[in-house]
Symmetry: D3
């Protein structure tokens, strides 16, 4: 395979374990999972669905930390090796010029992406319902908040790591104001991160499968010569509730609303105890993906059972092949 990864750097300190014998799927779990326990900071009920990026020779991240009231907050953290994390015990605060927009009610499920020398944070932000908050930082110390990307109700806003056709580009999953029982991934674009338009449909759920109820974006997509590699979550409704698994797709480089390949099977589903048991049983929910360009190694951070953070490993060319070889 002649796959080339674009826009990624060497990450010699990427967390890593070699593939164990007998692993049937292109991702395998970190043997010391959960990599982040629920109580890493003194007052957290759970730490999951969090975003990690390379930063200044080590790693930085924005973490979903629910506290003992089960209030959803974002916290900043740092790590030298991506395994051992120091998360600030006080919640992240955004500076915002507009008091109405900046009033933080709750935020969750962040993603962080590096675009043009700046780190952008998107998250599910309450503004008369869930919508997509947009912020940025240069140093992971001070954070600024801009306009919400859309009217409610929306979740899982994921920015692409570069402008496409000269515009910022975002995936999101329009929803309702509850435990939404439907959900497609859509694309939209913005000249300035303030005004959004050109909505395009990307993908729908697939009947009779692990992704039959709804689908939503996961980590920031990675650019490859085969297309944008998207890891995403899909939900099945059993008689006992939702089951969240993860799949993989390739999107067209220039028109990312066109799906090039999309694997029929999941690449990760809740099977480990810390994925099956917790505040919300049977959830794996990937939010961040590190890539070491020279080796193609991937480290994927995912929320497990809405309680702890798991880590999974794989090779980018295996994921791309899997999407193509098992495409719907």
């Amino acid at each position: 395979m002649s796959l080339k990864v674009l826009g990624q750097q060497a990450l010699p300190n990427i967390p890593w374990e070699d593939r164990p014998a007998g692993a049937p799927l292109p991702l395998w779990r970190y043997s010391n999972n959960p990599v982040i326990p629920r109580d890493l900071i003194p007052t957290s009920n759970s730490i999951f669905n969090s975003a990690v990026v390379p930063f200044d020779g080590r790693f930085a991240g924005v973490f979903r930390c629910d506290d003992w009231t089960r209030r959803m907050e974002l916290h900043v953290g740092f790590s030298a090796d991506g395994l051992s994390w120091q998360i600030k015990p006080e919640p992240l605060e955004f500076a915002c010029d507009d008091a109405e927009i900046g009033r933080f009610v709750y935020g969750y499920d962040p993603r962080v992406v590096h675009i043009d020398e700046r780190y952008y944070v998107t998250w599910c932000n309450w503004y008369h319902g869930p919508t997509i908050g947009v912020g940025w930082t240069d140093d992971f110390r001070t954070f600024h908040q801009g306009e919400n990307a859309y009217l409610p109700f929306n979740r899982n806003g994921v920015l692409f790591p570069r402008k496409i056709s000269g515009r910022f580009a975002m995936l999101s999953r329009p929803s309702d104001n509850g435990h939404t029982a439907f959900g497609d991934i859509f694309y939209s674009a913005s000249p300035d991160l303030r005004f959004w338009g050109r909505p395009r449909h990307v993908m729908s759920p697939v009947a009779n499968s692990w992704q039959s109820t709804k689908v939503g974006g996961g980590p920031v997509p990675i650019e490859t010569t085969e297309g944008w590699l998207l890891v995403y979550h899909g939900v099945l409704t059993s008689c006992n509730g939702y089951v969240y698994s993860a799949g993989v797709a390739l999107l067209d480089l220039d028109e990312p609303w066109k799906v090039v390949a999309r694997s029929a099977p999941y690449v990760l589903s809740p099977q480990a105890p810390y994925e099956c048991v917790g505040d919300v049983p049977n959830v794996v929910f990937p939010c961040a993906m590190l890539c070491d360009e020279p080796t193609g190694r991937l480290a994927i951070y995912y929320g497990a059972a809405d309680t702890v953070t798991g880590l999974a490993f794989g090779y980018i060319d295996d994921l791309v092949d899997f999407a193509k070889d098992h495409s719907l």
Copy 2:
């Protein structure tokens, strides 16, 4: 009262009947309602929730005509007096540069507004769910369609009749993909009718009232020295379903997401037989409002029972006073 109406013209042929004795509310019904019957065109099941504007010395409009399959379509119509209408039997077709966007699945609940020498049409347009379609015409003969304003799921997109702070401005009611049981009015702005941003919350339902389930914009707001006059619909959920009534509010001229006044009572509720009986019982749903500037006369077109079109009359200063005198 020193109310001045802004941005309106003289409409000597505005349809009109004087206020009947004993009418307790600031609006009264046309004595010959329904002004448009369900079968005005040969193949219509119903004609309602339609938009009318002054055009070339007479009146033009875009009409929601559901056909015998109950498929929702838009049709164009004309009238010299606003009472007797000629509606084209063939559905309106939009020219659109983007085939994916221009593929018409269904459309309903149009509004038409005149901004800067052009007529703009907004409607509830299906694109993987209901969202706001945006089109325009100069002559009510050829119509052009642009990008949908938002990601799904949205309904009741109502453009303001002029730019505000240099941008197009729209009210809408984010929803879900069914018979949505919630709904607030939001404001958003666009520099170019293609990219939308600056979402702001405008108003919510009011508990224990005719507007306790959801609220959405109605006709294009009218500018006055007291603020933007907004007639809107509100929904109450009885044990036998939704009841749609109409209320009136004043929005700040420069920051229309700020509510200056909002009448606690309805100004129109389903009480006439053609409002209580039909395809959807108990619905009045205003979509268009004509104003004769010299006299302050208003003629409001509204859908009745999702079956026919009704017409109601009033004076703009009475509506403004009512909103202020009975404000929540």
Copy 3:
């Protein structure tokens, strides 16, 4: 039949029309229904589910008048003939020693009963959910409010017209906080109208009938030598919502939770246009019953379509016979 009516007086001015030919059921409608239109007072949306008693040689009543906000209020009214009513335009206000209890959020579906020289009012009163408000008056000018009878959630509290075994006695229909889809009639007793106990089950819905979803008390029961005559409402759930009809039962005089007879058929169901069309289609809901002891004439006031007030006539011995002859 040797039926004797107890505790009733002569009401020579009871409203009355003779039975029309062909009336198949023991109740028939007033030919000039609705006896009270929706707009009898200047600001009412609807007047229904209201209570009437003989008072001072004429009639007085407490009326449910929803206003133009659809807010539910109680109003006082008077009539010389029971047909033509003067209802006060301002809502009834209760004096209450306890500010928390006396804070009126909303009230509806009143019943009025005369016990031991005092008129008692019970109604569905919001206190962190619907419960039974209890008040009294001596003159229908000043009203006093006491403790709510129960914890939420409860509706249709109907006092018996005399103490039973030395205690006040009430029927009610425990419910939830929405459009409750279940409901039985229960009995409870109180030594002082402040503390309530001895809950007893009275009757349940009946499968495959007009009363299959829920049942609740109607007018104040009338004492007879055959038992307490109870007119009550029952609800059937069609695919298009609830249908409210009225039935008749006899309860044991000393232990009114024991059902002596209960008619399988309804005695009134929504068939007239003003019962089928209105704010809530297909509702007849009896709340008050006048009895002229010498003739056995009954005049029953009932809400129709949650919009207007209807009047029906009958003879008490016919109702008692009907309950017994068609008993479940």
Copy 4:
């Protein structure tokens, strides 16, 4: 058109009115509808969804008569002209060899068909849930009941008027045990009316149309050289409940599970007052169809608002053409 109607006889006394001017659809209503009022028999709440056949030079039928308890019963009736009916006040009773099967809990929505010198009745029969009851009569005096056709849950069982491929053939609509929110038409066959098999799918609901929630068979199909003419009902779910309309289809003569044509528009929808107002608003539900072979005249009996029986007229070749010309 060279349409030939098969298996029908001359019915000189078929009820009939000529097509009124301006009728846009191939069916038109009897000017004196409802042809059967709700109270034709002394104790009926409603008479609707009933079946009529030619019998002995006049007409006989099995009628759904709900009584004052809203209990659903079947009654027998006769008419010389199909307009004026004598319905027996006492419910139809079936003789049945098996006491468990013959225990009548409730029955509704009958169809009657003449096959091989015998009249067969099918109806929705409760046996631990709704299923298809099967009975027969030679004289409309004594009726016999056999095995129910299927396991629960099923409704709208409609027999074909002759054996197909040597077997009895039935359409039905599998359902659940409530106000089923889904429903397709299926075909099945039986060698002996006791054992059923060869289930085949016939047709599904159609999105965004009057038949988007469920579809079910109506009158007994009529054989023509173009196929079996099927009039059927379809349901749309508005925010205020179900709306029942009627459509028309042609099924393959030998393999009736193959749809030859199916009209996209409805041929009858609830628009007349007696169809829009009643125990269940907005219902037209055809159950029986008479055909005068020499003229091709059709008389269709349908339930209106689950309250009364309506009558509509048309020509069979118009219906066949309509199905073909407006086919999905």
Copy 5:
């Protein structure tokens, strides 16, 4: 007890472990459960709800293997000892004369039964909704598919191991098309496995118990002198979803719709970790039962948490006694 087991053979190689001390119920778990792990074949997400029979001196079976798309498929497997299984990695394919019927959409929850020298397979088969697929094999190499047994919607079709009154006999659980919240067991009969009739009600859920929501057949019943021994599943709805347990009943030998005894307590409920944690928590679902006639030993295969296959042991006379001694 003089119980005799009928129609069973000696199975010297039946899997077995002796009863552990302190086991309070008549079934006990295999100490090495789950006997079949979720990943026994290379691409399975889970293996559960599977059917096993003696075959040619060893054991054969049809297994529900959901793959990584969570698609439900059937696979064939063999074992010498009933503990160590070889399951074919490719899905079972049925030969079918009718292409429409033979089109496999999905299949699950198989049962296998030996009748008159042939092995019959029944399973939940999608045909416009779930229904009962019927197939057969002589050698577990080639499989044939016949007509589906019923119209949709149905599940848990279980054939009796011999004809009763000269006809094939089947238990099934009519359902709807989702996670059905109700369900009774019914009996029906067929002369030829193609046409089905004589529906009879067998048993309903029991209020306030482990079987309060629905009940369905489990393994093929075993004939005894006391009646047919039926192990079945029952479902309770907790606030967190369904809980599936197993019970035991005796059915009349000649009229199996008559329940002779039915144990009030469960005989197996989800308590082991692999029953409580998995794709659907809290499920035990028995599908197959082996019996060694000389000793009365039983080995019951059951799905656990919709993820793995468990094995439980018991003696047939203990189960029969339990049903009788603890009968409802």
Copy 6:
């Protein structure tokens, strides 16, 4: 802190373990949990939500023991150390003068309280729906049952340990008749444990928190100089069902419906395996609390996963401080 505990005694044998290092919250779990396993008595499916009090130098209790039918029963038990329990295998039986009231259908979630030399038991008792049963004992051998406290529907009735303002006082949580999705705590009073009145609202759920769906009382409150210490349960609805946690509040001593302090965080949430896995995953439900007055030690018994009984420890002054320091 100058906290004084009132009305408690020395309990030298209170079960106890010292606080483990690193415990972040004021309660910690017993290291040998579950203190009562699900199968402590021979026929129990589960033992949880049970009440314990000091009695005669040791401990006595009323236990919720669901049996193998999942029927909910109450059982009596004794223990010398509060850790090792002897529970009677036969259910508790109440003597009751009124046969209708005394007919035991099911009972669950008991509380026991010592008031004026008598032990009172309250529990959720079925009487045409869940309501609050009231009983008493002097010796834990014979139990008497009085009137139910309220009309249905109610749960979690918790008596205060002394009269307040001369009356018995109870907290309860009005509900509906299913898995109620709402619930506030109310106070009411009784002069005689037979008649109840003076309903007062105490506390509501808190949005966006562990207690956002409903709240209900837990153990009998403990009187302190800072107010009544109330440990209560709160419920959050995840996409996979309810999560029950425990919080702490202080109520005014004389007017206990006034909340003095209420901790925003939980003090115990389901995190241990036996709390997350079981018949109802993710439940901690405290029902009883022992207090050793001299040391301020608390031992709290709580149901875990609706399956077993857990034990947690803490100091009363820590709980009081926590409620005050983290008050909403």
